[in-house]
């Protein structure tokens, strides 16, 4: 079944077409939701919201971009809407707050488990890092999406970068949390 046939089926509220869409794009949608949400339950809840929205507003899809991109965009927006309610973005993150793990050679230690690597970041920094580094958003877009200032977005990104670098990619990584003092 082609993508266009799937879309037509979804417009007709055909269950088989909808399930097909879920099977094809569910994995990527869940991947996005896991990146933004810390726990799996909330990620699955966001997956459900994403598909409900996609099937409910399927008539708004204009065939201008890819259908996959449209669904993944819905997934990101669902996560951001949820996080915006519960996340407080500190305007300025002091460098003293950067906590370092006790292990050297983080890359080897986490064995490329970027999910675990990102979990060391606080919510605000993780979201901004996700949006900027992985999704490719600009600072003004992030600011608009999250309802924060561009300065806050930059600050959060800077914090996320420094912490990830010092934790996982620094050769002289101190083993204590009092690094930098």
């Amino acid at each position: 079944m082609s993508e266009q046939q799937l879309i037509s089926g979804c417009i007709r509220q055909d269950r088989r077409s909808q399930q097909q869409v879920y099977t094809i794009y569910g994995a990527k949608v869940l991947g996005i939701c896991k990146r933004y949400m810390k726990d799996r339950e909330r990620a699955e809840e966001m997956v459900m919201n994403t598909f409900l929205q996609a099937f409910g507003k399927i008539t708004q899809y204009k065939n201008e971009g890819s259908f996959e991109g449209w669904i993944l965009r819905i997934a990101v927006n669902c996560c951001l809407m949820e996080l915006r309610k519960k996340t407080t973005f500190d305007v300025e993150v002091p460098h003293d707050n950067i906590q370092l793990p006790a292990n050297d050679g983080a890359d080897a230690f986490f064995n490329d488990d970027i999910e675990a690597m990102l979990k060391i970041l606080p919510d605000g920094a993780r979201i901004v890092f996700n949006l900027y580094a992985i999704e490719g958003y600009k600072h003004h877009e992030i600011a608009e999406q999250l309802g924060i200032s561009e300065g806050t977005s930059k600050s959060q990104l800077h914090y996320a970068k420094e912490k990830l670098k010092k934790t996982f990619f620094s050769t002289n990584t101190p083993k204590t949390a009092s690094h930098g003092r």
Binding site: Y22, G26, L30, G56, T59, I114, I134, L164
Partner: protein
Amino acid sequence: MEDKELFDFFKSRSQAFNEAPGNALWTKIEAQMLLEPAKPLNEKATLFTKKLFLFIAAVAIIAAVFFMLSQKEVPVVIINKEIKTAPGQVVYENDTVKKKAAQKQYINFAPKKVEKGRTAVAGTAPKVIEDGIISPPAFAKIDSKRLDKDTIKFDLNTVKMTTQTPPGRVIVSVKDKLSESQFRLLTQKIVAEHKNEDGTLIVVKAAGHKLFRQIIKNAELNVAPIHLAIDSVKRFQPIKTSLQDSNVTGGLKAGSITFKVDTLKLNTTRPSKTKNGTNNGKIIKPKKPTETEEILNL
């Protein structure tokens, strides 16, 4: 490590998050979709339909309001059975009269129209057409203006009222509702009845009218609120003179001409208001006698 390298590191490995959600989650989604009613496919069309429906409803309401306003013509009121018969008067039985509700009481009170030979008003009595079939009576339109005119006589005797006569006063309480002209007639009648009771205070109470108070003054001159104007020509009529009876031609004798005061004809007129609005009730004294009268009066 450069920022770009860091970003590439995570971006290239972002696929590691992907994971098939499983059938359990799909079951939840399917159940949720069943709970939520499916939205119409074309929302714009639905919106247009709603707007059209609202517009039609609004037009219908406005039309209904205009129709009701235009149909504000008086309810049909049956007034007949309250009218009592009197000798020489017509009975409007089973008449249906189009009349405003506000005028109903006035009509009920209105006396019956008297016509010669006790003939009914045209169109009000049932007609025998053929074979004993009786047609219903036609509508008898009663004109309120016509009722107010003198063509319909106002029977003061049928007015329900109570009279109290404490010392020096006559208090009349009218139970019926009267029009202004009827009330005026009634007060004149009451004053006329007590015209000889000098100093008596006449009080007439009627619903919807100002309290009427009048003190009878100069009872012998037959006054009250009514002005008396003595006709100068018919002021008196000599009955007989001693000169005429005795055929005396030598001249008039003082005091020999007599006349009866009772034969004086009086013209009663309504009290006129002065400029400042005060009344009324003033006695117009008789004109001075003419020279001839003075001579006769010697």
